[in-house]
């Protein structure tokens, strides 16, 4: 299979007046078409940094990233439009209605027209948000906001989705429900996805592969192929798979988290 996304020897350093921080070191990763990959790693190890580099938002110190064979540059080039990046919080614009929030990316990319409104309304309909299209973000629950943020990302029809802890703002119950919904949306739309998370169970339940990173500077410690014996896999069902515990323990040990 041809890799959609190819990361080669990626290293990233941050420079500030009083320090230099090495966030990512020599990272190599191939992501296949339609794959769901999770990245787990200790807090502050460089996960967001990796996503930002893929999205062309910062300049790597060295290394290259290819999407469909063409290189991603900084500042981001045409390739950017193929990437949908969902940030750590939903960042809905309070002053825009839900519909206008969803169309934001299209407006920026000058792709906004009658057809796209139709398409977006269909999507809102499908994911149960159509009746809220004229509401403002503060009138929505956390889970709904998260879905709106995802639809906003999907509206520009990216090839690859980058999700940065998409569920971290939600309470546990909502989190389970919303991750189920969002998983379904992503599979429906057939997107390649890279998700960053702190939550080991979440990473196993959603992904085809889990990438475990070391402490900063981020390097790949191990990659787990998640093979679960459940039919019609959904995140909730995955949690009941017999192999779930095995993966959980292995990744937990790998992360090597000490409470000091």
């Amino acid at each position: 299979m041809v890799a959609t996304l190819k990361i080669e020897n990626l290293s990233i350093k941050y420079h500030t007046l009083d320090d230099e921080t090495e966030a990512v070191k020599n990272l190599n990763l191939d992501v296949n078409d339609g794959e769901f990959i999770s990245i787990v790693g200790p807090s502050g190890c460089g996960k967001t940094t990796i996503l930002s580099a893929i999205a062309g938002l910062l300049r790597p110190s060295s290394g290259k990233i290819y999407l469909d064979g063409s290189e991603i540059n900084y500042p981001c080039n045409k390739n950017c439009n193929k990437i949908g990046y969902m940030l750590q919080r939903d960042h809905l614009f309070e002053w825009r209605s839900i519909l206008k929030n969803v169309t934001l990316g299209l407006e920026i990319q000058n792709k906004f027209n009658k057809n796209s409104v139709k398409k977006i309304e269909d999507m809102l309909q499908k994911y149960g948000l159509l009746s809220f299209k004229d509401y403002y973000p503060h009138q929505l629950s956390g889970g709904m906001r998260q879905r709106v943020a995802l639809i906003r990302t999907l509206a520009t029809d990216p090839e690859i989705l980058l999700l940065d802890e998409p569920f971290s703002a939600l309470d546990y119950q909502t989190r389970l429900a919303v991750s189920d919904e969002i998983y379904k949306i992503i599979k429906d739309e057939g997107k390649t996805t890279i998700m960053v998370t702190h939550d080991i169970a979440e990473s196993i339940s959603l992904s085809d592969r889990v990438v475990v990173l070391s402490k900063r500077p981020a390097q790949i410690k191990n990659i787990y192929d998640i093979k679960l014996s459940v039919e019609n896999r959904t995140p909730l069902k995955s949690r009941e798979a017999p192999e779930f515990r095995y993966y959980f323990n292995a990744i937990w040990k790998e992360l090597d988290i000490h409470v000091e």
């Binding site: 938002l57 950017c80 439009n81 919080r89 309070e94 002053w95 920026i108 990319q109 503060h138």
Partner: protein, 268 residues
């Protein structure tokens, strides 16, 4: 939510709030009335000298005289006009300069100390220079009002721009937004509250500028009436003008506040 059926307890609560609000307004009006009544009585009884502090009945007489001469609204109109032009221009020009500063971090850093100095300088001190440059008339008054509000606007709007959520900007960048698009889609809309609060401050500052300007050069307007009244020892004229000024300033502030409420609907 108006057509909802509330419980008795909630209705009681609403009623209590309403009663309290009425009480506050009533006391506020009473204070005003009492103030003018005691003023009138004290002046009548010669406890205070009406020549020095005037007296409500004399002010009313003077008001009617101005009205009959047909100059009352002319004076009020001129001053309000200058003030509105002053604060609207101050806000618009200040915001435009703030946008330019936002566009270039370098220029912004370079100009920073100069802005601080200009901000600290009492702008009134520039009055005579402005009159010298702009001429002895209305443009000079507006220019003084503008000077006073301009620098504050630049500084407060600029700092509002800087406080815009970096992640919202990052979000736009993930869609490949240009600098202009970032300005249009996030920086300006999320700074509207700052701009409105600048507008509110500018209303007050603009009154100061206009009155000072009128002290210096005017042939008409409320500021002119105040100075002129002082020169000819007509305290009725001075006091009346001050009271009209207070009412006008209050009304203008309220109009801006209504504007604010209207535009901040989405904040909920």
């Amino acid at each position: 939510m108006l057509n909802k059926n509330y419980s008795k307890e909630h209705e009681e609560y609403l009623k209590k709030l309403k009663r309290r609000k009425m009480a506050i307004i009533t006391v506020q009006i009473l204070i005003l009335i009492l103030f003018f009544v005691q003023w009138e009585i004290m002046a009548n009884l010669k406890i205070v000298d009406p020549f020095l502090v005037s007296q409500p009945s004399r002010m009313v007489k003077f008001l009617i005289k101005l009205y009959n001469e047909g100059t009352l609204f002319r004076h009020i109109g001129v001053t309000c006009y200058e003030t509105i032009i002053g604060f609207v221009l101050g806000t618009i020009i200040g915001t435009i300069i703030a946008i330019l500063l936002w566009a270039s971090d370098f220029i912004s850093k370079v100009l920073d100390p100069y802005l601080v100095v200009l901000n600290a300088l009492p702008k009134i001190a520039l009055g005579p220079i402005i009159i010298f440059w702009v001429g002895n008339g209305q443009p000079a008054i507006i220019a003084i009002a503008l000077m006073i509000s301009l620098i504050v606007t630049i500084i407060s709007v600029s700092s509002g721009f800087k406080e815009v959520d970096k992640d919202k900007i990052k979000l736009l960048q993930t869609f490949g937004a240009s600098k202009l698009q970032i300005l249009r889609y996030v920086v300006l809309p999320s700074s509207i509250p700052t701009m409105i609060s600048a507008l509110k401050i500018n209303v007050g500052l603009s009154w100061v500028g206009v009155i000072v300007g009128e002290f210096l050069v005017a042939q008409e307007g409320l500021g002119f009436l105040i100075v002129f009244g002082g020169q000819v020892a007509q305290l009725d004229m001075v006091m009346l003008s001050i009271i009209i000024l207070s009412v006008a300033a209050y009304l203008m502030y309220e109009i801006v506040a209504i504007f604010e409420r209207k535009y901040l609907r989405w904040r909920g």
